[in-house]
Assembly symmetry: C2
């Protein structure tokens, strides 16, 4: 639990830097293959050692799909392993000012 | 990758045993709180040390929600940690005899 919290803080601190490097992919409602291509490109043309796939709420299933398709269909030759998966939840206020919780996932992929 | 495969095999071998113990919860389309109660009960009344939450496809997001609600709302007092999260994908033939892939998740919770 403590380790998890620490890691999250570390992530936030370096988040800007990471976004600049484009190695964090946030999964949303764009066409599915956009995200797969995004992940694949980071490892191939951009030469990243690590790519982080993040999602919230209903997009969590999609994030897992993206990772699986990228790993098993497009990155077979280069060995990509799942370095770690973290789940958490965030509380926020919706439009009706009601507090709601949303689950989050963070899948870290690593090139061996 | 290899470790992951090994672990999966080990899981299958002891799956029957685990199901008998009810400490594997498969997430589907039943009411949300059924699953949360299921997880909570394993740790409290049944006294399990470990509970495994499994889901496929679109139910993956729901599995994460179940784990988060169980952990943060119902099991605050007893310290439940996420021992490990595995994602994978399975190929199967749908009704039209077309091969499709479905992603899977397996979240192992542990009582400290």
């Amino acid at each position: 639990m403590t380790t998890e919290k620490k890691m999250t803080t570390e992530h936030s601190n370096t988040e800007r830097e990471r976004n600049d490097k484009d190695n964090v992919i946030f999964i949303g409602s764009k066409p599915f293959m956009n995200y797969v291509t995004g992940v694949v490109m980071q490892f191939t043309t951009k030469g990243c050692k690590e790519v982080i796939v993040k999602a919230r709420g209903k997009f969590i299933s999609r994030a897992v799909d993206v990772v699986e398709v990228a790993r098993k269909k497009f990155l077979k030759e280069i060995n990509i392993t799942i370095k770690g998966i973290e789940i958490d939840s965030e509380e926020f206020e919706n439009k009706e000012e009601k507090k709601v919780n949303v689950s989050t996932i963070e899948i870290t992929l690593e090139k061996e």
